[in-house]
Amino acid sequence: MEEPLRRTALFDVHRALGARIVPFGGFEMPVQYAGILAEHDAVRKRAGLFDLSHMAQFELRGADVAAWADALTINHVATMKPLQARYNVFTNDAGGAHDDVIFYRLPERWLLIVNAGNAHKMWAYLQAQQQGDVQLTDLRGETALIAVQGPRSVEVLAPLVEADIVALKYYTCAETKAGGIPAVVARTGYTGEDGFEVFLPAEAAVGLWDALLTGHHSVLAPCGLGARDVLRLEAGMPLYGHELTEEITPLQAGIGWAVKFAKPSFTGKAALAAQAVDDDYPRVAGLVLDGRVPARAGYRVLRNGAVAGEIRSGSIAPSVGNKSIATALLEPASATAGTRLGVEVRGTEHPATTVALPFYKRG
């Protein structure tokens, strides 16, 4: 049975700002305010403000958390130092992905952020796997997540945060206060720009959001999920359900750097090791089309008239010369940069070239 859509603590604020609201991951979320391209531009050149409170926050405590999580995921957990953040993937026995996540190691506990669309699945999975000294707490409904992303993020956020965020390194965090409220501030994001994510109690979300926008109207633009998707695609970051799924492994998704075969064992390790040795699997690569027609998820990719793969995500890319870009899951021979391919759009083949990811790197 479908559950009714939920709202974040900022829902009324989004409405008041004129946001267009869409269902996403079980929530009613803003897809855009002023417009996707204007918001994208703000994040690349100035700063954007995002409500990411739909993402599920789980808290982990106990002496066995690191070893327990190491056995369920591809990346190292036990080697994380306090106040470090790390990208990771929970895998199934076949090496496919239950979800891609970020672990934040705090002095006394861990935060685990999972995708909204996987929240129910992941909570059930983690509970089923729970053993030893590992306590799981579901913080959904109690916590909010606000992101400030873009080259001028420090300028916008620093005055409101007690800790010195200028000194925060990429993928580290601080337990501090934001807008006077206890919060975790992390230098992480999903846009390809400098930026921060602020984890705070749900009841403090509106206060911080308004404080950030006040006095920064020319710098900071509220941004919806539409801009976020274009930004992450340009930056070559996978989106669960598109580049990474229960069937598409981290190796196939192009995040093999996160698979630590040096770990003694983890779920899916044998399957991933076999896949790595064989090296003959469909894999995600970038495509740039010659023309401007958008390549949408599900469109077929052709090579010399035969099917070579399928589009997984696509968009017009303002940071890539307004070209039509896409990710595609391609048979290995077509995944080499420079390969000439075609994307089938409404029965017509549009020429494209395979490129290495990412499409965009900040200067």
Partner: protein, 128 residues
């Protein structure tokens, strides 16, 4: 709400028509472009093609979605607007002017009776 430009006819699919004798200029309304959001691609019928009234004859694509264009009148395509093919954002900026899509030679003058006035179109979108 800004009233619709005078002298146009409208379809329930949010296209507008400007008639000049038996030649119709066709585009999408300001309401349509606003609903679609940032328009990034327009695919139009070929010059010389014969279109049936209300048939799907092309697409307009925003960042997030593909929408069909339904021709509000039938006839032969005389001309398409190359400017919207090279810069689709023109449809957002000037939906009733520079962002027109194509011109038709009308097949049947009576088909315009299936369209509505600006006032009726305003009522339609007020209820949407």
């Amino acid at each position: 709400m800004v009233p619709q430009p005078a002298g146009l006819l409208f379809s329930k699919d949010h296209e507008w028509v400007k008639l000049d004798g038996d030649v119709a200029t066709i585009g999408i309304t300001d309401y349509a472009q606003h609903s679609l959001g940032d328009i990034v691609y327009v695919e139009l019928p070929r010059v010389g093609a014969t279109l049936q009234q209300f048939a799907g004859i092309g697409v307009v694509e925003s960042v997030k979605a593909v929408s069909d264009i339904y021709t509000p009148l039938g006839g032969e395509v005389l001309e398409i607007n190359p400017a919207v093919e090279s810069d689709a954002s023109l449809v957002n900026r000037e939906p009733f002017d520079g962002g027109w899509f194509y011109k038709l030679k009308l097949a049947d003058d009576g088909e315009k009776n299936n369209l509505m006035s600006g006032d009726d179109y305003d009522k339609l979108i007020a209820e949407a």
